[in-house]
């Protein structure tokens, strides 16, 4: 390596093996300089950037092999990929799942979620119990298993990562209001009442028998303009939380020059949200098909799945589905007989809420710290690797499949004028039957809670939209759950979490935890969020101890909220005060002295 400086630390043989097994590079080649023709060499930064996107897989491999990112291992990764060690260290220290200090044990690590729903369900005693049994325990933010709280994820040491609940316990509850009518959109229709996880039902044949492949056929038959015009006519908006019109996004990327990318954002990390995990576990081929539809429609060559690292089963099934799709000819040099090349690569996140923000996701995937980029420019022109990029949530992508199946008019037959179609709601907390519910946009909150078996005990508050959302009180039972109605009511649906708290929940503890969540998950890049989330958490902690806010504390929280909302770079900072402020308005933090 010509121009990078490394310390003397050397990798062990097992570290070397683990890293090389995870990468598609040849150890013999000098990472920085490649002679591609006697008179043409690729070198320096260009070459470096071409390989750097493999940094995260390499770090995952090290972590699994030796339980930390050792100096020797980091040097080896840096030399192999041409990444300066200081930058690789900066990336490694960004993620919850990587350690940069030598572990004192050789155990797999049990991550125990301590966010509100799991805390109510006994996360603290569970963590204590696991510790007493000699397990290594790491308390962590939401693991996306809120319907079966308290959640545990095991980060494997020389063994695959796994979630204990995946192999035991009852299946997660799925309910769809629209599944009974074939002409209505329903994402869950084919997943309800099916034998789950059996290899037979996961086969391409079984998927085709369920109607799989029809969306891809329709997309190829209709062509780019007609697909986009149907998506636009259906009024589809993004289901990841921002609700941006999908048709506008796709049109912009379709109009851009190649190479282009499609990214499925499965970094589902909003506390209270678990829908994408279930979609990927139950119908992975539909996810792959929908990514192919997006890619072939906008003329992208590269499809990417960025899935959070704490979803091992969904990851495994998506990988299997990618292989099946390649076998079926959906992916490859002539994808689905379109004449266009399109393939999908899967990447795992490593524990960082911020990486669900689309531009932070790009940086993470490219092997940089998962810090959001300033917008504009937008991903439609400057996305992954600086190229035009469609980035969508899997729920959004599956809605495109439904639009292609039934047409935009039938699609609009459910939902409201401003929010056509259905929404997946993740119900958790004090409801009779926590689970994943598909309901038309516009269903009143009380009706949705009724579907889920009603509130257990006396309702105190519902947190809509997760940590980035806001609390509503018992009087919100008539609130129609549509984009426009929630916006008018000063709240949000976000990605669809509905977290229910009855009068046994210590609300000030819930709110302090939400404030702590943002303090921990702020990437630290911009001042308003880096310091504002800390000051907010300190204030909430103090208010909780005092039993209520003073007038100056109310004012200060408002000042912090305004600055974070107005001056932060990305949505994390913009929404970091939303739940706290709404809680204060509802008196959940106590009355002003």
């Amino acid at each position: 390596m010509a121009d990078l400086h490394f310390s003397d630390a050397e990798p062990t043989a097992s570290e070397r093996r683990a890293v090389l097994a995870a990468l598609s590079v040849d150890e013999a080649s000098d990472g920085a300089v490649v002679v591609s023709h006697p008179r043409v060499v690729r070198a320096g930064m260009q070459r470096r950037k071409r390989m750097r996107h493999q940094l995260l897989p390499a770090l995952h491999a090290l972590q699994r092999e030796v339980g930390w990112i050792s100096p020797g291992g980091l040097n080896f990764v840096g030399r192999t990929l041409g990444v300066p060690p200081a930058e690789a260290y900066g990336v490694a220290t960004f993620y919850e799942m990587f350690r940069t200090e030598a572990p004192t044990h050789e155990l797999s690590v049990r991550h125990v979620c301590v966010d509100p729903i799991c805390a109510l369900a006994g996360a603290a005693p569970l963590a204590e119990h696991l510790r007493s049994q000699g397990h290594a325990v790491h308390e962590c933010p939401c693991l996306g298993q809120c319907e079966r709280a308290p959640a545990v994820f095991i980060q494997g040491r020389r063994e695959p990562d796994r979630v204990p609940a995946d192999g035991s316990g009852p299946d997660s509850l799925l309910v769809s209001v629209t599944a009974s009518t074939a002409e209505a959109p329903s994402l869950l229709r084919q997943m309800i009442g099916r034998d789950r996880g059996h290899s037979e039902s996961m086969s391409m044949e079984a998927y085709r028998e369920r109607g799989g492949g029809a969306a891809l056929d329709a997309a190829l038959r209709l062509g780019t303009d007609e697909v986009i015009s149907q998506v636009t006519a259906a009024g589809l908006s993004g289901r990841g939380g921002a609700a941006f019109p999908t048709g506008i996004k796709w049109r912009a990327v379709a109009d851009g020059g190649g190479p282009k990318h499609v990214v499925a954002n499965i970094d589902e990390s909003e506390p209270g949200t678990f829908k994408d995990r279930l979609l990927c576990e139950l119908e992975p081929l539909a996810i792959i098909e929908s990514i192919a539809v997006a890619g072939l429609t906008v003329g992208a060559e590269h499809g990417w799945i960025y899935i959070r690292g704490e979803y091992p089963l969904a990851t495994q099934r998506l990988r299997q589905a990618i292989a099946q799709a390649r076998g079926a000819g959906w992916l490859g040099d002539d994808a689905a007989g379109s004449g266009q090349p399109f393939d999908i690569e899967l990447r795992r996140g490593a524990g960082a809420y911020i990486c669900g923000e689309e531009t932070a996701l790009f940086n993470s995937l490219e092997g940089f710290r998962g810090e959001p980029r300033n917008k504009p420019p937008f991903p439609t022109t400057h996305g992954l690797f600086g190229r035009p990029t469609v980035v969508n949530n899997p729920e959004t992508l599956l809605n495109v499949n439904e639009i292609l199946r039934i047409g935009p008019e039938a699609y609009r037959s459910v939902g409201t004028e401003g929010s056509p179609g259905t929404k997946l709601f993740c119900l958790s907390g004090h409801v009779g039957r926590p689970g994943l519910y598909e309901a038309p946009f516009g269903m009143p909150l009380g009706e949705l809670l009724g579907l889920a078996g009603g509130v257990q005990g006396t309702l105190t508050a519902v947190l809509l939209g997760g940590a980035a959302g806001s609390f509503v009180g018992p009087d919100a039972e008539t609130l129609p759950l549509s984009l426009e109605d929630t916006r008018a009511a000063g709240t949000t649906l976000g990605s669809g979490p509905v977290m229910v708290f009855n009068d046994t929940a210590e609300m000030s503890a819930v709110i302090e935890r939400l404030a702590k969540f943002f303090r921990d998950e702020s990437c630290g890049q911009c001042v308003p969020c880096r310091v504002g989330t800390v000051r907010q958490h300190e204030l909430v902690t103090h208010i909780r101890r005092a039993g209520g806010p003073t007038e100056p504390q109310r004012e200060l929280l408002g000042d912090i909220a305004d600055a974070m909302g107005d001056a932060s770079i990305c949505g994390l900072g913009h929404t970091a005060a939303s739940a706290v402020l709404s809680a204060m308005r509802l008196g959940l933090l106590g009355d002003t002295a």
């Binding site: 301590v114 921990d520 630290g524 310091v531 101890r545 100056p552 770079i569």
Partner: protein, 322 residues
């Protein structure tokens, strides 16, 4: 990157865009930023992470302005100027966010050597003491969510780091670091391409670090000092300045600045010698210099001790030798 919006230019030189800054129409070349337009309109804009010779990273957010039609404020330093933009630089929202950014920094960092930030803090009425009084000062006892954060200590959390003195050339005092990323940029893509330092950690715990916090002499650092030159808070400081400050002898007002050309090689880097009491105490280069863009190498930056070496008597030579 040279900012030339104030210089007269003809219409056909490059495309121009006209926008409104506080109700005043301003015309700047296409591709210029809102910050440049503000400057052209005679509006002074506070900046911390922006520098004329670095790519804008827009992280400090003290330069935010209000753009009509935008839900949030926008960073002037990096937002390209577009025709028809209606910009307010002194609205209540702008003043509030600027005040809060300065207040946040004042509550978290030692800004005693950041005179520009102190000036802006006065202008915007930033009051970092607000967090002492009504924050967590004096709070004690456990919280319900006790996972060992340092928030248990009384008072708002501050960036608390020992001064790192690992060599004779410069020191690092990260309690003064506001994480503006300038040093990382100067060490990396924007100037030196050495990549000795990067941001490590996350959130409030993010810090500028070598890998595993290795000591500088063991790191990739080549001691060009370009990071020190761009630091806005004195978190990075030349050893000469650090030592003089320690004895109360750092007197910028008594320093003369002499511009010269570096004597080491033929590139022609311009140097600014900062001289106090007949001694060189610091060497910089003008950010707008065509050769250096403000950046130097170790020789130009630190290789000036020979000037102060004991007088040397040259041997006499005869004209015949020439």
């Amino acid at each position: 990157m040279t900012r030339s919006c104030e210089s007269p230019r003809t219409e056909d030189e490059t495309a121009q865009v006209t926008l409104s800054i506080d109700g005043r129409e301003v015309t700047v070349p296409e591709g210029e930023t809102v910050l440049a337009a503000c400057t052209a309109a005679g509006v002074e804009t506070p900046t911390i992470c922006w520098a004329p010779n670095l790519t804008p990273v827009n992280v400090c957010r003290v330069c935010v302005v209000e753009l009509e039609g935008s839900r949030t404020l926008v960073p002037a330093c990096s937002r390209p100027a577009e025709a028809g933009m209606q910009i307010s630089t002194d609205s209540e929202r702008v003043r509030h966010s600027r005040r809060m950014v300065l207040e946040f920094l004042g509550s978290a960092n030692d800004l005693s050597q950041a005179s520009e930030i102190a000036d802006w803090s006065r202008t915007y009425g930033a009051d970092p003491a607000r967090y002492e009084g009504s924050g967590t000062r004096g709070a004690s006892g456990g919280s319900g969510d006790d996972d060992g954060g340092s928030h248990e200590q009384p008072g708002p959390e501050r960036v608390d780091e020992p001064v790192r003195i690992q060599d004779d050339l410069y020191i690092r005092a990260y309690e003064r670091c506001v994480l503006c990323y300038k040093c990382v940029e100067a060490c990396g893509d924007d100037a030196q391409h050495t990549f000795a330092i990067a941001v490590a950690g996350r959130g409030f715990d993010a810090r500028i670090r070598t890998e595993y916090d290795a000591e500088l002499p063991d790191s990739a650092c080549v001691y060009c000092g370009n990071c020190v030159a761009v630091c806005p808070t004195g978190a990075l400081q030349f050893r000469t300045e650090f030592d003089l400050r320690a004895v109360g002898e750092w007197r910028p007002d008594d320093q003369a600045v002499t511009r010269t050309v570096c004597s080491y090689c033929g590139v022609g880097c311009n140097l600014e010698l900062h001289v106090q009491d007949e001694r060189i105490v610091k060497v910089t280069s003008p950010a707008d210099h065509s050769v250096t863009s403000g950046h130097l190498c170790i020789k130009g930056r630190f290789g000036w001790q020979y000037v102060h070496a004991p007088a040397f008597e040259p041997p006499t030579t005869s004209a015949a030798e020439h």
